[in-house]
């Protein structure tokens, strides 16, 4: 017992990091569960009905029931499906979704009330190319969808998969250009530094968030992010009324649960990055700095609510309208935004 306590004492920072990684992983899954409930309740309110009601008080245990159902279902596989790829695809999707959170900052540095020798920055890590890491990992998420569509050996899946992948690739361009505008203004690719530059207030009460200086960039980024995650008005490839269920038609039980999970975590990633880039990260009034992660959570869930609200309010785009919008409207707007930002930054000498 003595040596274990001694070892823990000597390696506090390492243990703190490991605990942080575990906590983030765990919290992401809790977020997915909360999103399941939130989506159904918000949809119900918009559609003027009750939504989940029976399972637990006011339906709060509904996500638990969903997860139990998914775990206990039979695992099916179509006859001609390529076994290795069929099971690799949902793993790729989920892994890419989780990996993007490795560079997102949640809060300021804290010493956990003096328990640690050196301050621990709340966030798994931070590299000087953090934003590009998120971009790279999101590009890898495309493979989960393409492989799922191909390996299912079914026409619906293949069509849905290819369309989904083409949509994601097209909107990645505008996504990147939206990010680039913020990078020009902040002068750094590191998310923690970008958040750090958004502290402080103008005139004492308007927070120095980038959304106020880059409204167009914020809109471009959010629209591209929604299209990237195959949600809301851009979910033609997996809409229930259209292609059965698109690339995950043939999946059941845990593989389907992984796709489901990946979609919600992707939503959370887009929201978290938007909060860090445009909405000031963990900065907020009234609370001390070390409680900043509460503000972070509030902002992320506000954006997620917005996501869900969009899905149940707006009609969906047809596939060719969707692609036309991405290439002919969003991309030029994002490019012009980037050019204007660059010009103003140089002219004003920021």
């Amino acid at each position: 017992m003595e040596s274990i306590a001694g070892w823990v004492d000597a390696n506090r920072t390492l243990i703190a990091h490991l605990v942080l990684i575990g906590a983030v992983f765990f919290l992401l899954q809790i977020t997915a569960a909360v999103l399941v409930y939130m989506e159904r309740k918000v949809a119900a309110v918009i559609q003027q009905r009750h939504g989940p009601w029976l399972v637990g008080p006011r339906g709060l245990l509904q996500p638990l029931a969903d997860i139990l159902k998914l775990i206990m279902k039979e695992e099916l596989r179509p006859k001609g499906a390529d076994v290795a790829l069929f099971y690799l695809a949902p793993i790729l999707s989920a892994a890419a979704a989780f990996a993007a959170f490795s560079v997102v900052p949640f809060g300021a540095e804290t010493t956990l009330f003096g328990l640690l020798d050196e301050p621990l920055a709340l966030g798994i890590t931070d590299v000087n190319v953090a934003l590009l890491v998120i971009f790279a990992v999101t590009s890898m998420g495309v493979y989960g969808i393409v492989l799922a569509g191909w390996a299912s050996n079914s026409k619906y899946s293949l069509l849905g998969g290819l369309r989904s992948a083409a949509q994601m690739i097209s909107y990645e361009l505008s996504y990147g250009l939206g990010l680039a505008a913020v990078v020009i203004m902040a002068g750094s690719l590191s998310l923690r530094e970008i958040v750090g530059q958004q502290s402080g207030y103008w005139f004492g009460f308007i927070p120095q968030w980038y959304v106020f200086i880059q409204p167009v960039g914020f809109l471009v980024y959010m629209i591209a992010g929604v299209a990237e995650t195959n949600r809301a008005p851009f979910d033609f490839p997996e809409a229930e009324q259209e292609l059965v269920a698109g690339y995950h038609t043939e999946y059941s039980s845990m593989s389907f649960a992984l796709f489901f999970l990946a979609e919600y975590i992707n939503m959370a990633t887009v929201s978290a990055v938007a909060v860090s880039l445009f909405l000031g990260g963990w900065h907020g009034p009234f609370l001390p700095e070390w409680l900043g992660w509460i503000w972070f959570l509030v902002k992320v869930f506000a954006l997620l609510f917005f996501y869900i609200w969009m899905r149940w309010t707006l009609p969906r785009y047809r596939y060719d309208q969707l692609m036309e919008f991405g290439w002919k409207y969003l991309l030029p707007i994002a490019t012009v935004n980037l050019l204007v930002t660059a010009a103003i930054t140089i002219y004003m000498g920021w």
């Binding site: 790829l85 000087n128 590009l132 890491v133 790279a136 590009s139 191909w150 290819l162």
Partner: protein
């Protein structure tokens, strides 16, 4: 520690490349090549080049390989490959043996030629070597001409690809 990481990722890269070249299903080849790119990306991080590492994933693994994947799916190359014999994969036994000998010879010659530098240590990195700012500055000042030339190259290849692969209106 660096040495262990180098051997691990180097082994992954070499094995993945061998399987890319040596196994019959083109779909698996593409995925194995992506694995190889991932290992190389890790090696770039070891070489204090995080920007190149991330760019490798974004461009190579995230874009070019998706293109390859689409083409493999479009041409449905799987069907033929399931029954491929060694002759169909590599040509007759004569060319196969000759080619194998030549490849080993090439590897040996390259190995000899590249290690003629006295065993060199990786120098300490100059400050700011891996900063994106420095890369951007050099790219747009010293190498500006090459940069503009590659943009022209991409334009030409885009037009070329569309023209070559598009459906002809006749026949």
């Amino acid at each position: 520690m660096d040495l262990i990481l180098f051997y691990v990722f180097g082994a992954v890269a070499v094995l993945a490349s061998i399987f890319v070249v040596g196994q019959r299903n083109p779909m698996y080849s593409v995925l194995l090549l992506i694995l190889s790119f991932g290992a190389l990306s890790a090696l770039y991080v070891l070489l204090d080049a995080p920007f190149v590492a991330v760019t490798q994933i974004i461009i190579y693994a995230g874009a070019i390989m998706v293109l390859f994947l689409f083409v493999v799916m479009l041409l449905n190359a799987q069907k033929e490959e399931k029954e491929a014999t060694a002759r169909q994969m590599f040509g007759g036994p004569g060319p196969r043996r000759f080619g194998a000998v030549l490849s080993v010879l090439l590897a040996a010659q390259l190995g000899w030629a590249l290690t003629q530098i006295r065993p060199a240590l990786m120098g300490d990195a100059a400050p700011g070597i891996s900063s994106v700012r420095e890369i951007g500055r050099r790219l747009f000042t010293d190498y500006a001409f090459a940069f503009e030339a590659t943009s022209l190259l991409i334009l030409v290849s885009m037009v070329g690809a569309v023209v070559l692969a598009g459906r002809r209106s006749e026949s």
